[in-house]
Symmetry: C2
Subunit: 344 residues, 2 copies
C-alpha cells in the first residue's frame, strides 16, 4: 500500500426523489499498489450523466450496470491520464476514458470498461466525455438512426439546455431541420436562441405550459421528437406528432427521481393513427461506429458548426453538488467536474 | 324514389364502455333512385371491425373517419355486388368492397372509398373483408414491416382468437417463428392450439394472469409483440421484451370501450434498455402493395397453409348484436354478417 491518498465520493444514502447533496460524501482512502496488468489513472474529468441516477436506487441493477451500494464510490464515467502502468497495452501519458468511480485516482485493468483516446490536440480532452463522448454520440446516433431527420422537418428537443439536448439541437440544425427546444425558464429560452441559434424555444413552465408552447411554436406539428424525459412530457408531445413521426427515446428524466411509478402516455393510440415510431436505443450499441461519428463531430467542432457547451465544476468535492444541480435544471450543456489532476 | 326498401342499422346511442345491443337499431327506409355516376350495391357481407368502435364516441372524428352521428347508419366496411350502375367504371355483377354503412343496399359514387374486386373463384367472397381484406393485410404488413419476424423468434400475439390475431398467428407460423397466443378462456386456448397449430396459448384470465403466462410460455422473452390491445396488457409484455424487440401497434382494444383515459405502460424505460421499437401503422398506407400481399395470402389459403377463420352471423338485424359479441370476446376469427343478398 502506497502512502498516497485517493479522494472518492461515496454513496451515503440511496436518493429518494431528486438526489440531495447529503446523499453523497467525499472520503479519503489509501491508494493500492499496482498489480500486474493494472494501471493507475490520474483522473482529469468526471462526467455527470443523469442516466446514472437510476442505478443509485436500492437493488436497481440490470444487465447494463450493477446497482450502486451504500458506502461504496459512486459509479460514473471518467477521463484520466495513465500515470503508471503495469499493463503492456497502456503507457504513461495515455488518455483513457473508463466507466469507473467518482475519484481522483483509479486503478484499472484490462477487464474494466475502458477506452484509449486518440485525442485531437485542437479540442479540450473534456470533449471526449461530452460532445465527443456518450453525450454527443447519443445525440448523433439517435437523430440519425431513429430520428432520421430530413431537411425542413420540425424537430422538437426536450431538455434542450442539457448536455444531450443542446448537442441534439445543434446537430438537427446542421441537418437542416427547424429546431424547437424545450426548457424550464425564460432565461434558458433566450440562451438557447442566442447561443445555439435554434428556431424557437418553449418554456414549459410558462402559462399554458408545454401544450400551448408546442401549439405556438410547432404549428405544423412535430416530425421528430428527441425525448430525454418521458412521462407527461412525452404524452403531450405525442398529441402533436405528425404522420410518420419518429420519437427517439433517449432518456427518461421524469422517471429517475420518482418514488411512484410514472404512467406512460395516455394517448398511445395516436401512435397508430399517426403511424408513428417510438424506439429506444443505447449508444453503446454503436461502438463500432464511434470512430466515424467522432470524426464528423470533431470536424463540426473545428469548423464552428457545433459548439462544445460545457458547464464546468471544479474539484472532487464539487461532484455530488454538481450532480444534484443537474436535476434542478441548473446546468447549461454538459456538466463535467475538473479535478486537480487536470491542472498539472 | 323507388318503392324498394332498405334496411339499415342506425346508431341509437353513443356506446358507453362496451357497446350494447340497445345502442343500435335496425330501421327501414326507401331506397333513392340512382343519379348519373352512381350505382346500387346489393350488399352480401358486412365486416365487423373493433377499430370502428372509437368513431362511435361523440365527436370522435379524426383525419381518418368522421364521428358517427345518432340516428344515422353505422359506418362500416361492406362487400356488395353491383346491381345497377350509372357509372361507366362499374357494371352489374361487379364485386366491390367499400367503406359505407351497415345496410342491405348502398348507393355509392366514384367519390366514395370503394374498391373493385377481382375475386378468386376458389375462395369465398367474404374473404375479401377478412383474411384477404383489411384484417389479413393488417396482420401481413404489420408482421412484415414492423414486426420483421425472423425464423426461430418468439412472436406473441394478443387477441389471438380474434380476426387479426388469428391471421397474424398463422402468418408468424408460416414465417418460421415460435408463436404464442393470448386469449381469455381455456377453451379458446385449446382451440388456438388445435385449429391454428400455434406453439402455446396463454389464458390471461387464469391464475397468475398474463405475467405468469408469458413467463411460462415465453421463457426466452418476446422478440415480436403484435398488439391489438394496448393498456396494461402492453405494459406486461414490455416487461418481457428481448433486446431489439419490435412491438407492432395494430389496435388498442383496451381503450375503445373505456370512459376513463387508459394510462400508457409504466415501464416505458424498458424500451430504452432493450432498444425496442414500438410503431403504429394503418393498413391503408399500403394500398399500393395490396395486390402482391393478396396474391401471397391467396396462395397460402389455397395451399392450406393459411385457414380462413370466420364467425358468420346471418341477416342485417344480427349486425348490432354480433358487434357487441366481439367486444365480449365471443368470436373466433373474423366476424362477418351475411346478408340476404348473399343467398341469391
Amino acid at each position: 500500500m502506497s502512502d498516497r491518498k485517493n479522494k472518492q465520493v461515496v454513496l451515503r444514502a440511496h436518493p429518494v426523489g431528486a438526489p440531495r447533496e447529503s446523499d453523497f460524501e467525499c472520503t479519503e482512502s489509501p491508494l493500492a499498489d499496482l498489480e500486474d496488468g493494472q494501471m493507475l489513472l490520474r483522473n482529469l474529468y468526471i462526467s455527470l450523466d443523469a442516466g446514472f441516477r437510476q442505478w443509485m436506487n436500492e437493488g436497481a441493477g440490470d444487465g447494463y450496470l450493477e446497482a450502486m451500494e451504500l458506502g461504496k464510490p459512486v459509479m460514473g464515467l471518467v477521463l484520466g491520464e495513465v500515470e503508471d502502468s503495469r499493463n503492456s497495452d497502456y503507457a504513461a501519458g495515455d488518455l483513457v476514458m473508463c466507466r469507473s468511480r467518482w475519484e481522483e485516482y483509479t486503478v484499472v485493468d484490462g477487464s474494466d470498461y475502458i477506452n484509449k483516446l486518440e485525442a485531437d490536440p485542437d479540442v479540450s480532452p473534456s470533449c471526449y466525455l461530452g460532445i465527443l463522448g456518450p453525450t454527443g454520440l447519443t445525440a448523433y446516433f439517435g437523430l440519425r438512426d431513429i430520428g432520421k431527420v430530413q431537411p425542413g422537418e420540425t424537430v422538437l428537443i426536450s431538455t434542450a439546455a442539457g448536455a444531450v439536448g443542446s448537442t441534439a439541437a445543434q446537430i438537427a440544425k446542421i441537418r437542416g431541420a427547424r429546431v424547437v427546444g424545450m426548457t424550464s425558464t425564460d432565461e434558458k429560452c433566450r440562451w438557447l436562441a442566442d447561443e445555439l441559434g435554434i428556431d424557437a424555444a418553449i418554456n414549459y413552465r410558462a402559462d399554458g405550459g408545454l401544450e400551448a408552447g408546442i401549439a405556438e411554436h410547432c404549428p405544423n406539428g412535430v416530425d421528430v421528437y428527441f425525448d430525454n424525459v418521458g412521462g407527461r412530457t412525452l404524452e403531450t408531445v405525442i398529441g402533436h406528432l405528425n404522420e410518420r413521426a419518429r420519437v427517439v427515446l433517449s432518456g427518461a428524466l421524469a422517471t429517475y427521481n420518482t418514488t411512484e411509478p410514472v404512467p406512460g402516455p395516455y394517448n398511445m393510440f395516436n401512435l397508430i393513427t399517426q403511424r408513428a415510431t417510438m424506439a429506444g436505443f443505447m449508444v453503446t450499441d454503436y461502438v463500432e461506429q464511434y470512430p466515424e461519428a467522432m470524426e464528423q463531430l470533431t470536424a463540426w467542432l473545428k469548423s464552428g458548426a457545433l459548439k462544445n457547451i460545457e458547464d464546468v465544476s471544479v474539484g472532487i468535492e464539487s461532484t455530488g453538488p454538481a450532480f444534484c444541480k443537474m436535476f434542478a435544471g441548473g446546468n447549461r450543456g454538459k456538466l463535467v467536474v475538473r479535478l486537480e489532476g487536470a491542472a498539472r
